[in-house]
Symmetry: D2
Subunit: 274 residues, 4 copies
């Protein structure tokens, strides 16, 4: 019984004994002050420490995605939450809870898309053919390709060229393979050729390249985005709490919402029999 | 500008003016004391009041699903939450948050499955053929059919026969059509014939019949389950808060968990270069 | 060990064995179709079934509080969530998570306030003196009294007179004691006398009376409000999902927000040394 | 109208225009690759970049608190959530939601406690007297002092001496003032003297010193802990999803829970009249 109970929860991440904490085998007191926060994130998720270049690239992605303003549902929710009488952790959780497949999952979906193309390449198809086939199949079912185009930054997502440059530098050093960056660029070109208007790679498309180069599986593209955006959610929640406000809704009280339903009516008699 | 702002949020559910609240056109003071809570739920979701038989059936489903014990992750989470220093609403929200596609979505998926069979019937296929085809196709890909079989109640889910009886009575009165009940029963028979062991209809399978008969779309099968199970989540959170406890984890402290990862190791030098 | 493990979670609410589910001692198949949803809520929270009058009053409170429009943070959050690619349960949880001490806890705080006055009365102080002392003490520290006044319904909260009438009828029948209603009314009068403008009892003040009369402790005033408002949160989330929208923020895209921070600046050199 | 709407949400954190993103005045492309993730966290929360020593200390605190094992309610909840069919963001949110005043707020409360002592010192009281008074007042009401003692690490919390050493080094360099560290140490001594058994400073007590030295207000002690622990919550949720499992509850199925409520009983007749 004891064994069944003990082994009901199993982990390779952390080992704890009285007065001892080991993470992935390392004593916590060895890690503190000796490894960076980004290295610790990598160690927790991957089991080993990153190289210097790997940490530098992951750091750049985490820096890039912290915030995109209070008009985003996740940030707006956290700000509203702080005016409702909940804890800072509840406000952050409410915001993170909204980073679903659409709001937080575009990087994950972009990486899945890249993986499909890369698998085709591994079976001998050229990158151009593999990309063309994948892009065209997606457009044929009128489904957008996550990671390309931005409804607000139409010309360029300012985070993309900078991250791409860091990736190119890493590749020049032989630190990463470069497949995902090549795929991302080729997708961008194919989209331009087919749609006849630019749909430039956005933050989700470029971080999917970066996470792919670093060997992260697609779900962790969303996972790492969550860690990064949590910083913005926390900062906005905190700012809102200092601004004050009670039960602050989405719109100013003077223009609440449009009612488009049934006009006034009377409740007549008991409900009808079926 | 004002119009664009005002109409950014649109609803047919509720209309509010100073000193006036109307729900689906009815003044709130007419509803209070004159309609039941179940009727109010129906009115909110559907726009009109239910008939007496419809309300009675919905009520039975809501009564049936309130709780299935603290070993369920949703209930366990809410109980743990109450020992962590959060509000009762945060504890309930944490529990509801876990009613995902697997833990809370089986009824929704069962109803989707029934809808597919019903669509085949509508195009002229007999119920036996439509069910056989749907069931066999699912088993061929080794995917279980949600709503049938229960890992704990292997012989009978005690909620099923009772709900089925209420549905049969309603059908005898001509209050419901009976298609979904017939489909559910036929699925049960087909599973027995193919698997050679009973996989009796469980709470998700039977409430999917009931919600289907009442005209609810599949996502609201999950939605209504959430309303019902929220009662259990609240009751357990409240019970836990009266029992006390601080930072209560899943297992007793004497048997926390199994560590299966890397043995102790030293942090040697700076991280390697890539 | 087994005993310690088994008893790590304890409940008086539900007892489950293979093919058997008992709630507060009652077989689930006896409850289904025989007790109402409101009775089931009471049974889950209190351990015994309510009388007919008790159930009728609780039902009225649950009907009254289902919704107050999409300008409320809880509803807005649930609607936004549905455009972010999360499940219906996650949208409902995000909304419920915002029903904190300010947005969802006013009824709880009103009931606590009444309980303090009632305790003074139990020690022999007259209701007028007890109320005057409690109200004046609160106003002296410039803290508002939850449950009185409404920033939108300034003249009358339309839910209050109707609920008060139901409570008066129940009292005329001898079904409730009437202390909390008397306290609520006296607080209203005192506020008018001291502030020289009406601060009429609102939904939180009147449901606090109702829950007090029914013997619910203050935290369950918030708990029951959560159950009621969950209906509105679900209805709005569902309505939003049918309206569509992707990553819908609080304000229309044309008027996102005001930036009031630091003007553009350059990142110069490495960070300064401390 | 437009102005009222636009200014309904205000922020000093981020300024966005088409193709431009500025954080605290800095172009995002200047930050990416040039500032560390920890610097970015500081910039988001404080408005300016940290010095090298400040970033190094903050980094140490963030590294220290990432995880304390799956027996913690927050981690257990996230792991359970992944077996319920929700997104990775929902699992992380459910875990973060449990970091309430007890499970996640001890650092915040410790810092508040230190601030009170520091205020007394600022008015001329000696550190020994200020600490003695504060500690004794707390013990007199039998309320524990957050940040001291650990129910598992009874001799030493292995994170404390290491963080204290880093703080001492920073103080030796003149990079921090040292008040909070002195207060923390004095509290530890006073507790030993009064309780006659060691209650050594734990992770919450020492990070409260660190955050205090860095000028963070108490609520951000909880906020920064959330960012750190989110890493552990994510890592465990991800590990669980690779382990598989469906609807995994807190205890193994063989030992679910103890039922301590009413024995079996019959539902007799309609409910009694009040």
């Amino acid at each position: 019984m004891a064994d069944e109970v003990t082994s009901w929860w199993q982990t390779e991440i952390i080992d704890i004994h009285p007065n001892i904490i080991r993470i992935r085998g390392y004593a916590i007191e060895d890690l503190i002050g000796n490894v960076g926060f980004v290295d610790q994130i990598w160690l927790m998720l991957r089991g080993e420490r990153p190289s210097r270049v790997q940490a530098r690239l992951l750091e750049a992605a985490l820096v890039a995605a912290v915030d995109h303003g209070p008009q985003a549902p996740s940030i707006a929710t956290a700000r509203m939450a702080m005016t409702c009488g909940v804890g800072l952790n509840n406000a952050v959780a409410s915001g993170v809870n909204l980073l679903g497949s659409i709001h937080g999952g575009a990087g994950e979906q972009a990486l899945e898309f890249y993986e499909g193309i890369r698998a085709a390449m591994a079976s001998g198809v050229s990158i151009d053919s593999a990309v063309a086939e994948a892009v065209d199949a997606r457009l044929a079912v009128k489904r957008p390709i996550e990671g390309f185009g931005h409804r607000f930054h139409r010309k360029v997502d300012p985070r993309t060229p900078r991250l791409l440059k860091l990736l190119d530098e890493a590749r020049a050093q032989g630190a990463i393979g470069g497949d995902y960056c090549a795929i991302g660029r080729t997708v961008e070109k194919r989209l331009l050729a087919v749609k006849r208007r630019p749909l430039p790679m956005n933050i989700d498309g470029i971080t999917a390249c970066l996470y792919g180069e670093l060997g992260f599986p697609p779900p962790l593209a969303r996972g790492l985005f969550i860690l990064s955006r949590s910083v913005g959610i926390l900062a906005h929640a905190w700012e809102q709490s200092r601004q004050g406000g009670r039960i602050k809704g989405p719109l100013p009280p003077s223009s609440p919402y449009a009612y488009t339903g049934h006009g006034p009516r009377k409740l007549t008699g008991p409900r009808e029999e079926a």
